[in-house]
Amino acid sequence: MDDTAAVLGLESSCDETAAAVLRADGTILAEAVLSQLEEHAAFGGVVPEIAARAHLDHLPRLAARVMAEAGLGFADLAGIAATSGPGLIGGLIVGASFGKGLAIAHGLPFVAVNHLEAHALTATLPGLVEGGARFPYLLLLLSGGHCQCVAVEGVGHFRRLGTTLDDAVGEAFDKAAKLLGLPWPGGPALERLAATGDAARIRLPRPLLGRAGCDFSFSGLKTAVAHAVARHPPGALPEADRADLAAGFQASVAAVMADRARHALDMLPAATALVVAGGVAANGAVRTALAGAARERGLPMVAPPIRLCTDNAVMVAWAGIERLRRGLTDPLGHAPRPRWPLDQLTA
């Protein structure tokens, strides 16, 4: 595939509708993300049916927009890449079916992109890291739906080193935030509140800290926050306590993250970098803690810019390009997969 070939990426696995056009050399020609936050806010979380309807409403328009911005016609593309799992099946079906339709119209190759692989390969996007991250590297995927340590050994070659035993870390942030009376999505709100709090005043548990392996667990931490809140009558939690709890929660998560990252790096001694992805990678305390863990080993921490950490279509197009380069395409009969672990990828 020559460097000027362009691929359209489509993302619709959760509550962001996104489209992007990338050149094979990594140049982003156009990108757009439409968040459905407002549609779901009243329900305190993502409602799958509302998400699926919104994806169908928005995706065709978004795709047309990025193509116009890129100055390309669909016939000019080298392929279509659409997130086909894991995620909410209703949205995956919209994105994959729409993408296949675009591909059918001009006989273009179709790539069914694994959303986790797309996050994992973002670090190899030229321009993000000098020369791009080199395989193998350690990926910490930290979002509302995923929480895992992954050895990224090549396109389609992943080993999951550890995962959460209960909640994903972003889910834990959302639940703690809800207990503290913060609006959904809780992560950013909790971080703002934590900034005014004293993390040392209310000591919260640090689940699995020091334990072998690099699994995660957050339910105990969440329960500790719930108990601290329950010591006060409903709605009577003093403002200072709220802030201190938020700060304590965030500090516990950050400490656990750094500890798990150290263990994961022990399991992948050849790692060239520690890469973080997912919405929680936007959290400053978590970033600082992970950067520390990487520095101890003399490794760079690669954290893509926030817009490429959260769900986006640039990463989908890039994963599509990496796969097309290797001749990896998918049949039009590929079925979207709500569950699609990284170690079940083909390459």
Partner: protein, 221 residues
């Protein structure tokens, strides 16, 4: 020559068809057990290939917009949107009832209204009433329980996946209700309706999903 690619995923079968001037050139249909999303795209590609046409040679892409299963509707609509957008061709919406009615023999439709009834899996049927001799639904589908079915204003032909129960219910009330064999919509029939729309012989209809029912969710508290 009007060339139409039609796609349906509304109920328990999915299908694609290619029509040229109202004549069926190629068709594929399958029970949707394995999932409409995986079945429909290869079907659309296959009917185009069999007819020897590229999507850019189409005059329109027709799609069944509902009522029906939300997921199957979206699989068909998103696929149609993709083909239509990339080929620069317009989309034409056809309701499930219109597609079902088009598969009822003309001699039957001439003297009977078609009542297309779709089981909404929430204890109701979605009723589309299509007047005798017509192929266009004149109103939005109405959600009704079988016990609350309205009174037909004349003889009816009942179609759709809830037809068996509805026809029996109407017959028990002494109504002239003919149970038809048109139980699941078909892309070929949808294509016929779309051809009439394209020719201006039926009122236009956007390719927007007809969910009828809101998402089954309530805000907390």
């Amino acid at each position: 020559m009007a060339r139409i690619l039609a796609i349906d995923g509304a109920l328990a079968r999915c299908s694609a068809a290619l029509l040229e001037d109202g004549v069926l050139r190629a068709a594929r249909a399958e029970a949707g057990d394995r999932g409409h999303a995986a079945l429909l795209p290869p079907m659309a590609e296959a009917v185009l290939a069999e007819a020897g046409l590229r999507a850019t040679q189409l005059d329109a892409v027709a799609v069944v917009v509902g009522p029906g299963g939300f997921t199957g509707l979206r699989a068909a609509l998103a696929l149609a949107e993709g083909i239509g957008l990339a080929a620069g061709r317009p989309l034409i919406g056809v309701t499930t009832g219109e597609a079902l009615a088009a598969a009822v023999p003309e001699a039957v439709r001439a003297s009977r209204a078609v009542w297309a009834v779709v089981d909404n899996r929430r204890g109701r049927v979605l009723l589309e009433r299509i007047p005798p001799g017509s192929l266009a639904a004149t109103a939005l589908p109405e959600p009704v329980t079988e016990a609350e079915l309205p009174l037909p204003r004349g003889p009816v032909a009942v179609a759709g996946d809830a037809a068996l129960a509805v026809a029996a219910r109407l017959a028990a009330r002494g109504e002239d209700a003919l149970l038809t064999e048109s139980r699941l919509p078909d892309a070929a029939a949808a294509g016929l309706v779309a051809a009439l729309r394209l020719a201006g012989r039926l009122p236009p209809r956007e390719a927007r999903p007809l969910y009828v029912e809101p998402p089954a969710v309530r805000p907390p508290g």
